[in-house]
Symmetry: none
Subunit: 269 residues, 2 copies
Amino acid sequence: MAGTDKSQEIIYRPSPAIILCEPQLGENIGTAARAMANFGLWDLRVVNPRDGWPNERAVAAASRADHVIEKVRIFATVQEAIADLSMVFATTARQRDLQKPVYGPEEGSQRIVSHIAGGAGAGLLFGRERWGLLNEEIALADAIVTFPVESAFASLNIAQAVLLMSYEWRRQVDKGEVLPFDGGLDAPAPREELHNMFGHLEETLDRSGFFKTEDKRPNMVNNLRAIFARASLSSQEIRTIRGVISSIDRMHLRHGRPPKDSADEGGEE
Amino acid sequence: MAGTDKSQEIIYRPSPAIILCEPQLGENIGTAARAMANFGLWDLRVVNPRDGWPNERAVAAASRADHVIEKVRIFATVQEAIADLSMVFATTARQRDLQKPVYGPEEGSQRIVSHIAGGAGAGLLFGRERWGLLNEEIALADAIVTFPVESAFASLNIAQAVLLMSYEWRRQVDKGEVLPFDGGLDAPAPREELHNMFGHLEETLDRSGFFKTEDKRPNMVNNLRAIFARASLSSQEIRTIRGVISSIDRMHLRHGRPPKDSADEGGEE
């Protein structure tokens, strides 16, 4: 469908980041870029693309969405790709054994629009062509977004999933229906702080013998992460929880001998 | 995105016909078929396809939406293709000098859903890759449907336009119906279990010296409780967190002397 007005300038308005996780085909990156451009998105991040970057097939498939392609950023892991965001939704067509809220595209987009209207960063995570996102990637997200597809034919192409979410985002923005106030919750922390907290907790639990056997560990880690990812923790709350972990962890030092290590991060408000 | 449940039967419910007008690329016919299948549409009509029919590239691009491809009907003109329908909307990204109502995808789909619910046939007309629909083709339609795209980048691929309309149709049909799966979030635990967890955590933190001064304690307790109260924890998750607390708390016992207290609640799934 023709209709582009070349006299118009591209507008870079605050909008969600689109994160493609290990896409195999350059065409899909390009078509996703084009779909984003159609609805005014521009922040495209690619985790570990199979064929490297830049990719000629992506450029060709983008069909002149050059302003998106030129800004593409490449990351080695999902954690790095979402480090600066404070709301991340994972898209999937399959039910997962993870404790996460599940939204449709409409409700998911409404939440993203409200979040971004509050000045914060949000992102949408899309999985591989063949098998989507891994559970450990979904565990990093606040919630799941899934599409109202036919269960007998549920497999959406990545670029089409990106298109639908871009369309829904635009539709919600254009409604301008952001609520006049929110719950006064502090802004959620950038993802990196949450990841560091995960690392702190899991390292401590490794030492404490919490994960009784190595094969149980991945599931238990995902379940623990799901609890905290769901809670939209602020930076202050993350510091508090890290203080809690450290405080309990070091208790025996204080009890066993003089508390020489008083400059820890425990208990600060 | 994987997720197709092959045990499910295809349902042919009353839904709008999709009419592609003189498509050049078989790929676009196939991708349109796949997009239709995702949202439960199945009546695909093609007017005068450049490369004839059947078309191998269409079959490949349909990605197993065979039930749509096998039912494709070929017509010589738009008039013949829409002859049995009583409501037809033409999609276009460009303003036309035609006196027609113009709807967005949402309003257009609502009208189609109502029309079909009344037992009548409806269709959506999509134009050529390069220049869309001719004015004389649009003139045959009841109304125009256009998309809320960026005017600086308005060119939607045909299959993507079909996808958006299929999605919107499905969304309107399903209004108030459920997503294919929900989060399966376990029911939040009775408040008493949460309170007991608070007690366990706070007692441990009292011993660990987390609350540096007594006057800081109430606020810090409230902040900690707020985090966990917000997370809608299930009974299992509460047991997990209590296991985490106990595990860290007792680490020094295990490290300092033989673990005589192995019947603790730590680390059970």
